[in-house]
Symmetry: C2
């Protein structure tokens, strides 16, 4: 009997719950390949069913554990209300038991919780598991850019790809047609040494990077042959829905970078929008954004990054266009200029405590570029940072891009 | 004494006048390379100065020749009102005298007038002139796609490149920052035959095309060596302004195709917008549009078309994004769905007699693809045509793109 893959989803915010819905729909549809039940780890909390929910009449205004509510109502009433989750998706408050026996791990949680979460499951996962990170952003610290997929590889010693695209969670959850990109390119696992013995399968995490500050070698375990082969086709089967079109590419770094760097560009187009300079100028700024995203990727991840990830994939141009038309960073930058205040001020006063990803990314990317003396090669990223810091004026943006 | 290039602009609509303003600003700035005066051919007509014009008080409600008004007020009061044109730009109602002695010819007129206009100047231009076509669109007839730059080459026996980008004329005229792309790749002119005599410099116009239905060889005359070399740098000098950033590429076909095919995609995104499916879906449709634009170019102009013209140049992605956000085709498609009428109906009732380029392009491109049995390789172009014709429903669009 061939083994089936067991799927676990780590994270249950609105994007986590949406992705969990998708994969659970597919494990149900392909029970020859996957175990039907999908465990989803939920950071448990006491919640009330919202007044607007159809479940309110049953639960009233008492508080319940979120996991209990999800498993009884098949709805994440707090983070993804009014969306029916498949019955075979099980909310689990215990992290180790969520990932227990899972051969396919989907990571989808806010980036600030990743390190701690990974520490809690180190040594408790299937050693030959494979992962996909749906986490937006990259970790830029001091002189190093680390992708969250890399962090997962380093901490768990498994290969991890990434998923990103023009995927506003609530729209995907409502099953409105969109596309996504999966970057997946594990090292070949079938190499033999000269004497015929299996080779150590190392991922040299840092080797894909131009900057070799953190040499980390991960020894990969091959997936046993009685499992369906874990490749692009398998991930396509797990994630593709009629309303969610998947394209698998090899460039996992580019896929992750697209979802992070687009937010800097979205801030810039928001500034331009507020100035009323029109669609030509906005399109020019967006185009320069694409070029700088490509340059950033090609400079620091030359082994992985393919320009086309940014220029033709959903994780690149599509996500960028959506973010520069209606995204939160775009709108906040626009409000800031209209009101004559800083973007930080808008973040504080208009976002109910939520953080604006573009601000952090613009700042950390600029510091990173400064340390490497590369700011001049990235005039748009540099200009956005200057404007945020109050050192440059939006009116100078065209001149800064010449 | 080195010779200076004389520049003539053929066409004086809003885009024609805008481009004439730009080149006249530059001939004035670079009198070492260009003759300062620029002739602009104006299809002369009797016009009144509009009531809103600052020149109204002087001219009242009498009618005057448009050329007289342009030369006296330095403003194209009818087609580009309230924009000051440089004093060294001269409106000329006579076509042959406009192009007389000009070594650099800029073509910028509505495509329906091109053939006749070219016939009027055949044999009357400088035989070693070089051209740039700013004409939007391509001529798709029966089984052949002809670029207007090709038509100019065939009819005038000069090499002609093309210019296109996210360039809404009134925004460029108001000097709001934007970018453009020039495609220019003439054959080398310095080849010698084996016996040392100059070779015939042929442009095999059809050779850049996959379809060889119209073998046309044009014998090119080299530009005399006492003129500044006509290359990308020279065109950059003639067109670059602080508010108009030029990038020169070799792919003249891709530059022309971008400005034509984008209108089909803009109709599609307008349909999606009206349905309220959100930014993910719109971005997915736009992305598929980019892929089909690339495929169209690579299939029929394999010698010229570079994917990057569509994915990273202003003539590609930037123009597409602007058109899919605020362009006329986008808005009309959106209105059509909102009102439950055909796009043709909107064209008739809301556009004051102006034609919607996307409708004609979608129709002729579809007929062309049909004749070549290629519609299946272009699902988005095919779907847009079906929707326009009332044979497909906008609701099926996601399914048609799967």
């Amino acid at each position: 009997m061939p083994q089936k893959h067991r799927v676990a989803v780590v994270g249950s915010g609105n994007w986590g719950s949406t992705i969990a819905k998708i994969v659970a729909e597919n494990t149900k549809a392909h029970t020859d390949v996957f175990e039907e039940q999908v465990q989803m780890w939920v950071f448990d909390e006491d919640v009330q069913v919202p007044e607007s929910s159809k479940h309110r009449s049953k639960y009233g205004d008492k508080t319940y554990k979120l996991t209990k509510l999800i498993n009884e109502t098949h709805e994440n009433v707090k983070y993804l209300p009014d969306i029916r989750l498949p019955d075979n998706l099980v909310a689990n408050p215990d992290l180790p038991s969520t990932v227990d026996g899972a051969t396919l791990l989907i990571f989808n949680l806010p980036h600030q919780f990743i390190s701690k979460t990974l520490e809690q499951i180190q040594g408790k996962i299937v050693p030959y598991a494979r992962g996909i990170s749906c986490i937006k952003g990259v970790d830029v610290s001091d002189v190093t850019v680390t992708l969250y997929s890399e962090l997962i590889m380093e901490k768990l010693a498994i290969y991890c790809g990434s998923l990103s695209g023009a995927n506003i969670a609530t729209e995907v959850a409502a099953e409105r047609f969109c596309e996504t990109t999966i970057g997946y390119d594990p090292p070949p696992m079938d190499l033999k040494s000269d004497d015929g013995s299996p080779k150590d399968n190392l991922i040299k995490v840092d080797e894909q990077r131009q900057d070799k500050t953190k040499p980390t070698h991960v020894k990969l375990q091959p997936v046993p042959q009685d499992y369906p082969h874990v490749d692009g086709k398998l991930w396509d089967l797990l994630f593709s829905r009629p309303y969610f079109k998947v394209h698998v590419v090899r460039d996992a770094a580019g896929v992750s970078l697209g979802g992070a760097l687009k937010n800097i560009v979205a801030l810039a187009t928001g500034f331009v929008q507020a100035k009323g300079w029109g669609e030509n100028t906005k399109a020019a700024v967006l185009r320069q954004g694409v070029l700088e995203m490509v340059r950033f990727g090609r400079t620091w991840f030359p082994q992985s990054v393919d320009e086309r990830t940014f220029t033709v994939e959903s994780a690149g141009v599509a996500d960028l266009v959506a973010s520069c038309t209606a995204g939160r960073n775009f709108r906040s930058a626009c409000h800031a200029v209209e009101k004559g205040v800083s973007v930080e001020e808008i973040e504080k006063t208009e976002l109910n405590g939520q953080k604006l990803q573009g601000l952090g990314t613009a700042q950390s990317v600029w510091e990173f570029l400064s340390k490497h003396e590369k700011t001049e090669e990235f005039p748009l990223f540099n200009a956005v940072h200057g404007i945020i810091e109050g050192k440059a004026s939006v009116d100078d943006l065209p001149k800064l891009l010449q």
